[in-house]
Assembly symmetry: C3
Homo-oligomer: 379 residues x 3
């Protein structure tokens, strides 16, 4: 018995099965089949391996972005000159990946809580009956008191008074000088699967270079300092338009890297595109042109809380990190080879169909290929 | 020699190998094998291709979100009426994807730097010995001076005085009117692999529609304007509870798209779910119910810096963009076919095992299938 | 005719093809081939299935992060003592995933709009000709008036006056006490493909535990409360250095989960690493050491708008959620098996090459394996 098992094992190891083949000497079939097989081979090598890099596994990065604006704006309104620095025109101030640069504004100074008539066009009324006391309108500024103010023909509201008048947007924008502000982007990414960390301050981008460079698509594609006017232009916007009503621009930092070559070749590419507010887009975008929000500076005057309300029109920048790294990996390589061999099998099946069903001598080939067991009768 | 190579090449092209097969005429084996093969075929076509769409490659989007709140709140405390507008109750003000709407608050007005007793319950003391001068407590309001205040039986601290008393949370919440605020979401996504950009203001959602629509799961599933009360309800919360202690709600914008059909069919779906603070959840969530943070408005009074401290309870909204786009791609198609053919091979192996080891006439079949080379003796 | 079709169908179901094989009894070839085949089998089972878990599909999470700082800082400058609480040192205040803790600052109090000389070192001049009126410098504080101030030998600018003097950074940092602040992280993640939601307050991390625990890599790896000094240390920084000039630290919450086991085993791992500003890094990082931003508190004094400008140096924390969940899935399982069978086919091809081209008795084996159709002449 033990001998039998030993024999079976030694048989298993010393034997080897290989399929018996018919070698069909037929030019037509031969050529067709070889072409199909070569096509499959070319597809596997050329397309899967070389073009689509099927021998690599992929990973996307986790990253962190820090931004810093520089530049000073200047306005002169009715002879009152003032400048706007970073602490005044960037929201939020701490250098987030998504921030707004104010380019235009409607200022309402010295608001305090009180009762005043609504803005003309909202809550119009002819008598007190039109102003239901205690109710709100979604787009109104406050709570109606129930009184209709004769001078303005609008309902009186409890609100921060005087109410903001935003019917006319300043044009040209107050802060056209924003065009010359500069944006500095620091971005570091980590590909967890490959254990690689990169920063957009790549090799060669040192403190000396940064202090004097300015991004340019061709001449300085790695300089992380961008002129706002350039970004807006590269996104296809007109600066004055976007500065007037506001808009949103995506700054894409693209990390498409191949880690089969040296890591130092992994460098970011910057791209810019409008997110909303593009006045040249189709109807659906125009449904909501512009970008604005309200911002209040609170203060105390004569023990009365007051505020300065700013309706800020600005350019919102979203720094979007997009990444795709590839590296040789044995699993996708063998999966690609394995499934390629499978497709080779399909090629053989196709050729067999030609051989056995389409050729004139098909009966002959069938006979060559198949051997019949004449045991049909048995159950 | 050259002739030989030419011959070899012509042989290669004009010949074609096909495996020789045994055609086993056995009902039992035949039926079993055909069923296995048909099962594999059904799996490949039905499951991999139709159900799992294995012929498509997938991509996730990079996107950008902008939000805007509308609505006015009203409070009346001890006869002092005031309204709260967007600039007062949204943090941060610039319309981020993640923001907080204040629904309740504890206000501490006129704080200035000084020495005052700690809040009762923190730093309780009976004598100066209990208050170590110069030290802090992690949850305290300031630095201990080393003195025990007899009146309050708490340590004196150097802090913004008077210290905030947050032992009692106002209930019902101060700003129940938040239920009627509306949230407008603008979201644009880009699928970099397929080069497709979409906005949640899809075809048909124009300025006219937006000005009067309100999101409803069935009647207006594409309207990007949401009533806060509706969002809270759809997330399974009770508005008054969440407004009192605060909470966090995720608004998922789901872009599950199939780009094999027209791009206009790619529309967002909105879903709402609580992130923390759900009082109906299990113990672990209850470990940290509520959402609050402190916010200070600084001002100068009689040349002394003062501040108004707000402990803000609110609903935090996280607009979460979730995306999965699919499109026909030749690589996954052929990988699926190739590995399907491989599984076909497994089916054949299973049938062979039945044929060669289980059937009564297995010796006969073995003889049919195999041809032995009698060269065992050689090394 | 109908009979013929019925016959064909019954033939198809009652027949079964299996390839005819040559069983080569040759020890050398047998051993080589069996080893290759066993190697392929071991690769498929060991590597693809056990090591790389090729039978599972993967998913990444969408999540939401909320943070809360606790602790009080203290400064004493020229005898003027003050404390800094959460509302003073965290930017932004509402508990975002990315925030800054102020550790050092340069304060410029009582700035108002006016004309004053630039900071020494910027816009140096010897005569009015050096100061072009109406122009800006990118790194300057305001708009030049065209006048050169003799006392400071710098150009006069229209700016918030007096201009900030940030030439000397306070060292040691003003708020070394930041080391003892604590950070509380709430993080919830959802794996949309598997429909699983998890929170970092996992089983066992309840309110009682949170109230007294402090994160420690070995003793308390699940406690979501972190001491700032510990985080900085675990990221490999020196606290005093990073507190002086600022820096950025990534707190990675790693959700690597296997949903084939109980969901309760899916627990977060915390990791800490510097993002920029690491003074021990290579040149490229040093290109931009530190992290700072400017922040203004506005107030009104004698009806003149004034501001207190803070140049904030701080540690920026980015809570980065990294996730990879795996679960058994029939598609990748069968794809792996299928392509494994394909690779088996490659093994057979390799053995055949040995058998037919390298062995001395190759002619014999060739004859055994192939059967020739002598129909070369036909077209």
């Amino acid at each position: 018995m033990k001998n039998q098992i030993t024999n079976a094992i030694s048989d298993f190891f010393f034997e080897y099965e290989t399929p018996r083949q018919v070698l069909v000497r037929n030019r037509r079939v031969g050529v067709v089949c070889r072409i199909i097989q070569l096509g499959v081979l070319a597809y596997i090598i050329g397309w899967v391996f070389i073009y689509e890099k099927g021998y690599q596994s992929t990973d996307i990065a986790v990253g962190s972005v820090f931004t810093k604006m520089k530049g000073v704006g200047y306005t002169s309104i009715n002879g009152s000159e003032r400048v706007w620095d970073v602490a005044d025109y960037v929201f939020p101030s701490q250098g987030d990946a998504s921030f707004v640069v104010m380019t235009n504004y409607i200022i309402t100074e010295g608001q305090k809580m009180g009762k005043c008539p609504e803005l003309h066009g909202k809550h119009n009324c002819s008598s007190n009956a039109d102003c239901e006391g205690g109710s709100f309108k979604r787009t109104g500024h406050g709570q109606m008191t129930g009184e209709c103010v004769k001078e303005t023909k609008t309902c009186q509201v409890l609100a921060w008074c005087p109410v903001e008048d935003d019917l006319v947007i300043p044009d040209p924008p107050m802060l056209m000088s924003a065009e010359n502000y500069t944006l500095f982007i620091k971005n570091s990414v980590t590909f967890p699967l490959f254990g690689v960390s990169r920063s957009n301050l790549v090799e060669g981008i040192d403190a000396g270079y940064i202090s004097k460079c300015l991004y340019h698509p061709e001449n300085a594609p790695l300089c992380p300092i961008f002129r706002l006017g350039d970004i807006v232009k590269l996104s296809g916007f007109n600066f004055e338009t976007i500065a007037t009503v506001g808009g949103a621009i995506g700054v894409v930092v693209d990390w498409t890297c191949n880690f089969d070559v040296a890591v130092t070749h992994c460098k970011p590419k910057y791209a810019f595109h409008g997110l909303y507010g593009n006045p040249t887009e189709t109807d659906k975008a125009r449904a909501s042109v512009g970008y604005n929000f309200r911002y209040a500076k609170h203060y105390m005057e004569d023990s009365i809380p007051k505020r300065t309300l700013l309706k800020v029109f600005g350019i919102r920048f979203d720094i979007i990190v997009q990444s795709l790294a590839r590296k040789f990996d044995i699993i996708p390589t063998l999966t690609a080879i394995g499934s390629g061999v499978g497709i080779f099998g399909v090629a053989t099946v196709v050729c067999d169909l030609v051989l056995l069903y389409l050729l004139p001598k098909r009966a002959f080939y069938k006979n060559m290929k198949f051997k019949y067991t004449d045991t049909h009768a048995q159950k």
